[in-house]
């Protein structure tokens, strides 16, 4: 069965610093991959997605992610973090049966 691993439960970065959130997936075929962001007490908002083509995808709010098949990874990046980026981030994969499976999430804290 497909699965998603986000190895970092919490990450703290300084405002203006770069950010990389890690995501590894397990799926036998070409995956459809997503990154969502969740502010406290809110639903999930899609940041970006990948399902074919260019392996570097651009999303909203200045985020990007790179799909690396050889590493089974889909890491999320942002060159300069803003305080408003503090939230929880979820990586997800659509696999067998069209089910969307999420990682456990990474909580991002931004310090000024």
């Amino acid at each position: 069965a497909q699965s998603v691993t986000q190895p970092d439960i919490h990450i703290t970065v300084s405002e203006g610093a770069s950010l990389e959130l890690r995501c590894n997936y397990s799926y036998g075929a070409t995956p459809y991959l997503f990154w969502y962001v969740q502010s406290p007490g809110q639903g999930l908002q899609l940041l970006l997605k990948y399902f074919s083509g260019d392996t570097l995808v651009q999303g909203i709010k200045g985020f990007e992610a790179e799909f690396k098949r050889s590493q089974s990874s889909f890491n999320l990046r942002k060159p300069s973090v803003h305080w408003s980026d503090a939230a929880e981030y979820f990586c997800a994969v659509v696999g067998y049966g069209n089910k969307l499976v999420f990682g456990a999430g990474t909580i991002l804290r931004v310090k000024s």
């Binding site: 809110q42 999930l44 908002q45 899609l46 399902f51 074919s52 069209n98 969307l100 456990a104 999430g105």
Partner: protein
């Protein structure tokens, strides 16, 4: 445009009482529908998904059930709540046709079982 509504937004229920969370989608037809639960400090767990009226797939054996009485309505229920049912419940939908279609989430429902 499509919208998804989920209610109630917050709910406090005693142990052993019933539960009904409702989700409706507007502006699309025959969507795939999902119920997720997010427990405090944990990721999202897929509970149920539905590809059509009356078609429900359960992912995790539990105290909950789901029903889809109409094309764009998805209901999460329980006959007797447990303390462990507390959490944040999210309804979601997606267009059929491609696994790459984006899944859109409702605002969520906070359930506290006391």
């Amino acid at each position: 445009s499509q919208t998804i509504h989920q209610w109630p937004a917050t709910l406090v229920q005693p142990v052993g009482s019933p539960l009904s969370l409702e989700c409706t989608v507007e502006g699309t037809s025959n969507p795939n529908l999902y119920w997720y639960r997010q427990a405090a400090g944990r990721g999202l767990q897929l509970l149920f998904y539905s590809v059509g009226i009356g078609q429900i797939s359960s992912e995790v054996p539990q105290n909950l059930s789901a029903s889809r009485p109409q094309d764009r309505q998805f209901i999460l229920s329980s006959k007797k709540l447990l303390l462990s049912d507390s959490g944040f419940y999210l309804c979601a939908w997606r267009r059929t046709g491609s696994s790459g279609n984006t899944i859109y989430f409702g605002e969520g429902s906070w359930l506290t079982v006391v």
